[in-house]
Subunit: 395 residues, 2 copies
């Protein structure tokens, strides 16, 4: 199971909720294992998971009929799956279906509830929650469906609850950590694959192709591919183009795909030939800053204290004017899970958080330098997911 | 420019709107050229484009400070870009910035409006629209921001307007057609690349890797990769796994990535060795059905009539029980643009629509068969984007 059930229940209790309804793709997958493809690759398609606090076994997943095969996947742990809408699937006459096909047929045999909200309302009523306080993830549900939900459940209290899911997702389960480790390592190997082909005259796009192909070969899918050479690397979200690699120009990678739906987000830098003095000093400074943060992190340590220490270390080591809005963030199904490692954040680190720690530096007219590692917070420190260290890779 | 300005204005007029606000990633890119990365790869990050009906030159794009480099891209045609939130970018002292860096600095020099909705409200007031009827794309804006917008603009009338953008996007501009053609052709070449490595013993994942790598090599990014062998192909959204290719089992591809943000969605089938009689007859039937539809399509022809003719042709040619909910759809920045080629749709085809025409057949216990071509509707018919015909590819 992906979901941290204990934490979700704690979040529901804290918010006074009798049930929650997941509506955005990350939360639907999180609370059921159901990867509702069309809502992942488009905006608008609706899929939901109703999770009652009283009994997690009573959860209900709601899918359009066109996605029934994905809802029948053996990885989906929610047993009660309802469907809405017309979609035709035939069956060979007389054939005995087995495994996933049998499960597909079971779901197809369910009543067509017409539309997503009709389906959800019936599930809520079936669970006796029509007068309950229900937390609905407000980000994925169409506004017209929220209105319809309120209209069809006049005695229920509907509360916006995307923050409850975010709270739950912050502490990862064993299976999530496994996937996130693999996802980060695919990204790390993909940077190495890209730097393996780097030489003068190659373009940013050449590196991007090598990067993404390696990700695909390792079983991932591309998502984030900011790769920039020289002063273009100072653009935070630089999108690779036909700019050629020159000797002495830093190549910045801020990259990561998905592996079994879980995101990666790491950063490294390479250079053809030895760096000049400024680059050597600045790159060392951001490395020291990142490792300073990583050394401090353990359960109970304040996020804001780690932020301060990292920024201070970068300043001391060579970038005296260094400033940041944050030096990292959680990662999971979403690329930015809690916590945000920012000075304004009153949270502390907790065991089981998976975090990206980063100390980027963007200077227009010069370059972008960025190191970012991913790790899980353990009982007494962190366990890194990285295969490489953050040193400037000299080619 | 990607946007069909004439059509958007017509949609605004029809809906009685003085302005529209794009909020979902597809509509933000469509109305400005601004690819607001974080809202494309996550749910929640806010970026908007305000387009006043009175003067398109008065459009305003609104971005978080962290995405300013993308808002400064030369492809962004909206001149007035506002920003919100803290994000640090340095500049080498004394350097003269040029090109995109100069534009980044111009946007950074704008006032920080605090948050997305504060930024939007100021833009609306600056354009004198504080008492106007404003159509807001309701899908991308956070519900709490919709409420805040209504509160801060008590004299404005806010109307849900995602349908106005969908209406505009249905008729493609020259640049959109160019990108969609390339996107479809990348997918077509990628299927060929995957079938080039197909032989007994290879797995679905082997084909998927070959498919996605070719997409990346051609400058695209993977999105949709349903590839299934034999009876697994009957699962509509089959996700490739380690299932091995066997002689005589159909391999179904329903696939397509993005090229410069524009989607592809095409389908083809391959087989190792000659097909059995059922497969040969059924596959021929779906081809005849698809080509029947394609032959009929031209401006003024009713979508529902084409649906009926295609289904009828498939039945006549060999799948007498054939049924479908739709036989295609528009495609653009979104994978499902208007029109939906369904029996309940009262629309007619129009010149400039880019459409996918498909006649899939899913039979549990047997296989999935699917052909899907992409094309633009021309003055007197269609211009196909496909490089290959839809025949069953015998290997």
């Amino acid at each position: 199971m992906l979901m941290n059930a204990e934490r979700l229940l704690a979040g529901m209790k804290r918010a006074g909720l009798d049930a929650v309804v997941a509506t955005m793709p990350e939360n639907v997958t999180y609370t059921s294992g159901f990867w509702a493809m069309s809502q992942w690759i488009r905006r608008g398609p609706q899929a939901y998971v109703l999770t009652p606090a009283a009994n997690l076994e009573d959860a209900v997943a709601i899918t359009s009929t066109g996605l029934v095969d994905l809802a029948a996947d053996p990885e989906v742990w929610v047993k009660d799956v309802r469907r809405f809408g017309k979609f035709i699937v035939d069956t060979t006459p007389g054939v005995t279906l087995s495994g996933q096909d049998k499960r597909i047929q079971e779901i197809l045999d369910q009543h067509d509830d017409g539309d997503a909200v009709g389906c959800l309302v019936r599930a809520i009523k079936d669970r006796g929650l029509q007068s309950a306080t229900i937390g609905v993830d407000e980000i994925g549900i169409l506004p017209e469906y929220w209105d319809k939900l309120a209209e069809l459940l006049p005695n229920a209290k509907l509360v916006r609850a995307s923050s409850v899911f975010r709270y739950a997702r912050a502490i990862k389960t064993h299976e999530e950590i496994r996937r996130l480790r693999k996802s980060a390592q695919i990204a790390d190997m993909s940077i190495t694959a890209a730097l393996d082909i780097a030489r003068e005259g190659k373009t940013e796009m050449d590196l991007a192709r090598a990067f993404h192909c390696k990700t695909v070969e390792e079983g991932g899918l591309p998502v984030l591919g900011c790769i920039g050479v020289g002063d273009r690397g100072a653009m935070t979200n630089v999108q690779p183009n036909e700019t050629r690699i020159k000797r002495g120009a830093v190549i910045r990678f801020d990259v990561g795909g998905r592996y079994r739906h879980y995101r990666a987000d790491i950063a490294r830098n390479g250079i053809i030939g030895e760096p000049d003095q400024k680059t050597a000093r600045y790159h060392n400074a951001i490395c020291v800053g990142m490792y300073k943060a990583i050394d401090m992190i353990k359960p109970g340590v304040k996020v804001a204290d780690v932020f301060d220490a990292a920024v201070e270390a970068v300043r001391r080591e060579g970038i005296s004017h260094y400033q940041r809005s944050h030096i990292g963030h959680g990662i999971g199904l979403d690329g930015y899970d809690a916590p945000n490692i920012a000075p304004s954040n009153a949270e502390s680190f907790e065991e089981g958080m998976v975090i990206c720690v980063e100390t980027p530096y963007y200077e227009m007219g010069y370059a972008g330098l960025q190191v970012e590692d991913t790790m899980v917070v353990t009982r007494d420190g962190v366990d890194t997911f990285m295969l490489t260290d953050a040193k400037l890779r000299v080619i």
